[in-house]
């Protein structure tokens, strides 16, 4: 294993040290392991909190800032944050209007955010939770009852975050978050496995000529193994799964995320983006907004995930609203 780390045990703390050093607009709480907007709490604003295992950067810490998250709770690599950590985040950002938890649907995350929500309620902080479960690859997975949560998390955090920024109340923000999740579908393909610092070797074996079709963001098995195929054919498989689950037609508009899993060069992601656009164009669906790059990663895994949101005008307008975070910034 070759990684730019000091020790496997100190990766998260050392990364938080780096975040604190280069992002003065954020506050890093090393005791609780939180990344918080430096100006939190914002009185009267619904606060958004997300989190999950580390190793998916920039998710979630890279999405903390005006117009998106108020705090992120990074767990150890591929490990859920603990309830006390999430509770501390909720208390740090609650400005009196309540807190929305954005939770990817993994059993550990769901349980720990649920416990934190109960603890928060005991302390007078109103919490609502949205579960993100956009991955159409498999119904139940290694660490999931139901579908896994992946790229749509970014859409939920951006769009609901923009609505919160405008002063909407907790129920309205939560409803929008649910609506965005319901409108989004994802599918991922891995070319290689990823290696966690603590394990020191790839999380699963993938022969040199095989790929994992429908992989999860921790390397969980997908639908099948297969031979490597041209990008056009792989995108065909992914988009077929996405559009079977949520058909789109002329008149619909898409927000598209072509997301690198960590080890795939950007030039390849643009090749994929071109094929995604061609499939959508074949349905008469224009790409109204898009991101191409590494946003929801799996450490050093080579591969791509595609997320498509069937966006209404309100979502598009909120998507375009100003945001100022380490990984997503425009309009400010």
């Amino acid at each position: 294993m070759k990684k730019l780390i000091n020790t496997p045990e100190s990766v998260l703390t050392d990364a938080l040290t780096g975040i604190a050093a280069v992002h003065p607009e954020l506050r890093v709480d090393f005791d609780h392991r939180l990344i918080v907007r430096a100006d939190a709490p914002k009185a009267g604003k619904v606060a958004l909190v997300s989190g999950g295992g580390s190793g998916h950067e920039p998710l979630h810490g890279g999405f903390v800032g005006p117009g998106m998250l108020d705090a992120a709770c990074p767990g150890e690599v591929f490990t859920s944050p603990v309830p006390d950590q999430v509770l501390a985040a909720a208390k740090a950002v609650d400005g009196g209007a309540g807190v929305l938890f954005v939770v990817k649907n993994y059993t550990g995350d769901v349980m720990n955010f649920q416990l934190a929500a109960e603890l928060a309620a005991d302390e007078g902080v109103t919490v609502r939770t949205v579960l993100v479960d956009d991955d159409v690859a498999v119904q139940d997975s290694t660490w999931t009852a139901g579908r896994r949560g992946t790229g749509a998390t970014l859409f939920v955090e951006k769009i609901a975050g923009a609505l919160a920024d405008r002063g909407a109340d907790l129920n309205k923000v939560a409803e929008m978050a649910e609506k965005v999740n319901a409108a989004s579908r994802s599918f991922a393909i891995a070319l290689t496995a990823c290696t966690t610092p603590s394990a020191g070797r790839p999380g699963f074996d993938l022969p040199e000529d095989e790929i994992e079709i429908g992989v999860g963001i921790h390397g969980e098995p997908g639908r099948s193994r297969g031979k490597l195929q041209p990008a056009k054919d792989l995108v065909g498989i992914a988009m077929d799964a996405i559009l079977r689950d949520q058909p789109m037609a002329a008149g619909d508009k898409a927000i598209v995320l072509v997301n690198g899993l960590g080890g795939t060069p950007l030039i390849e992601l643009y090749v994929v983006a071109g094929e995604v656009a061609a499939v959508l164009a074949g349905q008469g669906v224009p790409i109204a907004a898009s991101l191409v790059g590494d946003y929801v990663t799996s450490l050093d895994m080579a591969g791509v995930s595609i997320t498509v949101c069937r966006a209404d005008e309100e979502m598009l307008e909120l998507w375009a609203a100003p945001v100022a975070t380490p990984a997503l910034r425009w309009g400010t």
Copy 2:
């Protein structure tokens, strides 16, 4: 080799197709292989053109837009753009105030941009060229007389681009570009080699327990091979080389780029960023601005480059000015 491509021969065209599909604010000229601001030429504004071999994305196409480049000329992977291509770019963006070529110091690039500048002059387009040669690792390298150009290219393009945006004339923009290059130093460390689509195998052999210290962005040999060390020690080697070449002291301010080479997870880059900040803090130098992420890549190479610019107030102010490109965007 596992890559998300259709064929090795079509990678560049297919990637340009993707760029055209998701970036309507850019114009892709498939015949000449150019990425151009859709609103070019801007009358009376000095235009900036850069380019080089593909495989370093988002450099340069991802930096085309208001406040930065007017056009980028991507060559084939790790291959210089051709003179006619660069000439076409210059003609496409010249708004009557002349064109600045930003050229990384590699022999092929230098020669082809020089030829293009002569052809442009014949057609009445005034061109000035700035050579970027910030890599302190080695004096001459595989494809270089003198130092290689790397991360400082981004600093030059951003800061000189902002000055051009404000209406400065060609000489002023070129002087600023030279000033930024002269104030910047880089050093890179590779953990793995990279694989070009056409070669299909790693460009050099790097044993499982060794790293290349001072590597170039095409995998050119650096200063030495060594065993993998903790991030703190590797950063120490890199920062020592940078600060020996350009000492910094209390009162100086730094713009820092902690740049992933393509295959390194963001969490590791933040570990590196923390160590870079600690070294600079030891010199009494605050990080006034920074970027952490994949900006000047080497396909799927795992590793990091560190670039430090000793920035004066004018550079810092121009750095903060609005920019709207696929890979760098703020203030708009």
